[in-house]
Amino acid sequence: MEVFLQQLINGLTLGSIYGLIAIGYTMVFGIIGMVNFAHGDVFMLSAFIALILFIALQQFLGLDALAPSFVIVLFASMALTGLWNFAIERLAYRRLRGSFRLAPLISAIGMSIFLSNFVYVAQGPRNKSAPPMLSEVIKLTSGGAYDVTLSYKQILIVVVTAVLLAAFWFVVQKTPLGRAQRACEQDAKMAALLGVDVNRTIAATFVIGAALAAVAGVLYMLYYGVVNAADGFVPGVKAFTAAVLGGIGSIPGAVLGGLLIGLIETFWSAYFSADYKDVAAFSILAVTLIFMPTGLLGRPEVEKV
C-alpha cells in the first residue's frame, strides 16, 4: 500500500511534466499535421536555459531567495525558449509546408540532432548538477514498513502545471488567438480566406508549445537536479507517446496521456523492472498507433484524395 501511494505521487509528478511537453506535440500536429521531432530537444534546451539563469541570478546578482528567482527563471525561460522555437519554425519548417509529407519530419530530425549537439558543444558533455533547491519533504504516513513522502518540489510541480494549464486553456478557448488557432486547425485555407493570418497563428502555436515545454524544462531541472545535452530524446519520445495515447490533436488528451504515461512508467519501475521502463513506454507507443491510432480522446482521421 505504501509503495502504491508513493508511486502514485511520483507518477503524477512525472506525468505533469510529460503532459506539458505533449501539448507542444499535439498542438503542432493539430495545426500543420507534422510530428515536431525536435520538440524534445527544445525541452532539453529550456532546462539548460533555466539552469544557467538560476546560477546567473545567484552569481551575478546575489539573488539567493528561491521564490523570486524561480518566478524570474520560469518566465525568462518561457520567453527565450519561445523565441528559439519561433526561429526554428521560421528557418526549418515554414518553407516546407506543402512539400512532400516526410520533408518537415526529416527537417525536424535534423533540427533535433542540431539542437542536442549545439548544447553539447556550447555546454560540454558532462552532466550539470543544479544546486539542491527546495529539498523539504512532508511525511504522509509513518510507522509502516516504508514512509510515504510528498516533497515540496512535487507539490510545486503539480501546482505550477495546473495553473499554467488553466491559463493555457483560457488562451485557447477565449482569446482571439485561440480562436484563430482552432480555425486554422479545422481548415487553414478557409481561415486564411476569412482574414486569419495563418503564418502568424502557426508561429504563435510554436511559441506557446515551446513556452509550455520550457515550464516542463524548469520543473524537470528542479526535480531531478541534473541536465545533460542528451536528455531531450527519451522524454521527447515519451511525451510524443503521451500525445498519441491521448489522441493526437486533442489538448485534454495530451494532458491525460502524459499523466497515464507517467503513472505507467513509475508503476512499471516499481513492480516489474526499472531496466525495461523505456521499453514499456515505447511498446505503448507502438501498440497505440497500431491498434488505436486515434488515441483515447482523438477524432478519427479521414484521408481525402
Binding site: 527565450l80 516546407l96 542540431f114 539542437l115 555546454q123 515505447f282
Partner: protein, 448 residues
C-alpha cells in the same frame, strides 16, 4: 520620406536577425556552466561566442538579402540530358569505380604498408560500410518512400547474429554472413508486419521505438548479450578458411608472402566493396522488376497505388525485408571487422547518420547516396585530422564534436533547399515513346 532604399531595408532586416541570434545565444552560448573545485556550477562568460553568433546571423542574412534576385525558376531540369552529358556521367562512374577498386594499391604504393593502414581502414572500409548501409536503407526510404528511423536495429541483428553464433558455436563467418542477412530480413518482416499499415510519419516513429527497444534489450538481456560490456574476441575474418595470422598455416605463408597485418585489412576492403556492389546491383535490377516499379509508385502516391489494385502491405513488406537483409549483411561484416560488438554501436545517432546519408544523397539516387556517405563519414574522419585548429582555437577545441552538429544542420538545409536531393530529378523506369527526365518539383506527393 520616400521608400527606403533596398540596401537600407536589407541592413535593417539583417540587424533584426543579428539581434534575435544574440538573444538566442545569450544564456546557452555566452555563459558556460562548469563545476568548480567544490563541484558547484560556476558560469564562465564567453561574450565573444555570443557576438560571433550575432555577427554571423547578420552577415548571412545580409548576403541572402543582397544576393541578386534569381530569375523565376522554371523546372529547369525538365530538359532531357544530352548525349554528351550521358556519356560524361558514364565515364565518370567508370572512373570512380576504377579508383575505388584500385584504392588500396594506390595507397599502398604511395605510403607504404604502415602508413596505408589508416587510409584503407578508416577512409576505405569505414566509408564502404556506410555506403552499403545507405544503399540498403535507400531501398526502404528512397525507393519505397517509407521513413525508417530504426534501421540500425537490423544492423545490430546482423552483428549480434554473427557474434553469438561464432563465439558460442564456432560457426564460420562464411556461413554466418547469409544467416545474418536472413535473420535480419526475418526481423524486418516480424517488425514490419504490424506497423506497415500506418501512415508515413507514424511509421517513422514506430520504427524508432522498435530500434530503441532492440537496443535496450541488448543492454539488459545480459545472460545472452553480456549487456553494455558487449561481446569481445569474435573470431576474425578468414580468407575462405585461411586465417590472417603469422606462421605456417596463415594466409601469408600459403601464398608465399611476408606476413603483414595489411593483408587482412585489404581483404576486408574488397569484401565490403563486393557486398556493397551486390547491394547496388540487386537494387538496380529490382527497380526494373514489377516490384521495384511498385515501390516507386507507392512512394509517389499510396492511394493511387491502392486504387490500381496493388497490395501495398506486400510491397512495403518486401522493401522493408530487403532493406533489413542488407543491414544484416553489413552488421555481420561490422562484427567480423571490429571483433567486438556492444549496444552502444547501435544507438539512434547511428540510425540518424544512415538516414542523413540517404536524405542528403537525394533519396533514390545510388550515386548520390554513395557521395553522401563519402562526404559524411569521410568528412568526420577528416575532422579528426584537423589538429592544427587547436592552435587557432585553443587546446580545448575538438573538431570531432562538430560532426553531428554539421550533419543535423545539413539535413535541415537540404530539406529546405532541395527536398528531393542533390540529383533533383527522376528518370522514369517505364515510359511511353521517349524517356524524359522529370523535374523533382513536378513529382511531389501529397499535394493539395
Amino acid at each position: 520620406m520616400a521608400e527606403a532604399s533596398p540596401v537600407r531595408a536589407a541592413l535593417a532586416d539583417a540587424a533584426r536577425y543579428g539581434l534575435i541570434a544574440a538573444a538566442l545565444a545569450f544564456p546557452i552560448l555566452a555563459l558556460r556552466a562548469e563545476p568548480d573545485f567544490s563541484n558547484k556550477l560556476v558560469l564562465e562568460p564567453r561574450w565573444s561566442w555570443m557576438l560571433g553568433a550575432a555577427v554571423a546571423a547578420f552577415l548571412v542574412r545580409l548576403a541572402v538579402a543582397l544576393a541578386p534576385a534569381r530569375a523565376a525558376r522554371k523546372p529547369a531540369a525538365a530538359k532531357a540530358p544530352s548525349g554528351f552529358a550521358k556519356k560524361a556521367t558514364k565515364a565518370f562512374a567508370a572512373f570512380g569505380l576504377g579508383l575505388i577498386v584500385a584504392w588500396p594499391f594506390i595507397v599502398l604504393l604511395t605510403l607504404g604498408p604502415s602508413g596505408a593502414l589508416k587510409w584503407i581502414d578508416n577512409y576505405g572500409v569505414q566509408i564502404l560500410i556506410y555506403v552499403m548501409l545507405g544503399w540498403g536503407l535507400n531501398i526502404v526510404v528512397g525507393l519505397a518512400g517509407l521513413l525508417d528511423l530504426g534501421y540500425v536495429a537490423f544492423y545490430a541483428v546482423g552483428a549480434y547474429a554473427y557474434a553469438l553464433l561464432a563465439t558460442n558455436y564456432g560457426v564460420s563467418f562464411w556461413i554466418c554472413l547469409p544467416l545474418a542477412g536472413i535473420l535480419a530480413a526475418f526481423w524486418g518482416i516480424l517488425l514490419g508486419f504490424p506497423v506497415l499499415r500506418l501512415r508515413g510519419d507514424y511509421l517513422a516513429i514506430v520504427t524508432l521505438a522498435f530500434g530503441e527497444i532492440i537496443r535496450i534489450v541488448l543492454v539488459n538481456f545480459s545472460a545472452l548479450t553480456n549487456g553494455d560490456a558487449g561481446i569481445a574476441s569474435i573470431p576474425r575474418v578468414t580468407f575462405f578458411g585461411l586465417p590472417f595470422v603469422a606462421g605456417p598455416k596463415g594466409f601469408a605463408a600459403f601464398f608465399d608472402l611476408k606476413f603483414s597485418p595489411i593483408h587482412r585489412v585489404v581483404f576486408l576492403y574488397y569484401l565490403i566493396l563486393v557486398l556493397a556492389l551486390i547491394t547496388n546491383l540487386v537494387t538496380l535490377r529490382l527497380r526494373r522488376l514489377p516490384i521495384g516499379r511498385a515501390w516507386e509508385a507507392l512512394r509517389e502516391d499510396e492511394i493511387a497505388c491502392r486504387s490500381l489494385g496493388l497490395d501495398t502491405t506486400k510491397i512495403k513488406l518486401t522493401a522493408f525485408a530487403l532493406g533489413a537483409m542488407f543491414g544484416g549483411f553489413a552488421g555481420a561484416f561490422f562484427a567480423v571487422r571490429q571483433g567486438f560488438v556492444s549496444p552502444s554501436s547501435f544507438n539512434f545517432v547511428e540510425s540518424a547518420t544512415i538516414l542523413a546519408i540517404v536524405v542528403l544523397g537525394g533519396g533514390g539516387s545510388q550515386i548520390g547516396v554513395a557521395a553522401a556517405a563519402i562526404a559524411i563519414v569521410g568528412g568526420s574522419e577528416l575532422l579528426r585530422e584537423l589538429d592544427f585548429l587547436k592552435q587557432v582555437f585553443g587546446q580545448g577545441f575538438d573538431p570531432t564534436q562538430y560532426r553531428m552538429l554539421l550533419v543535423g544542420l545539413a539535413m535541415v538545409v537540404m530539406m529546405n533547399w532541395r527536398p528531393r536531393g542533390f540529383v533533383a530529378s527522376r528518370t522514369p523506369t517505364i515510359f511511353l515513346g521517349e524517356r524524359k527526365t522529370i523535374a523533382a518539383d513536378l513529382v511531389q506527393e501529397g499535394r493539395g
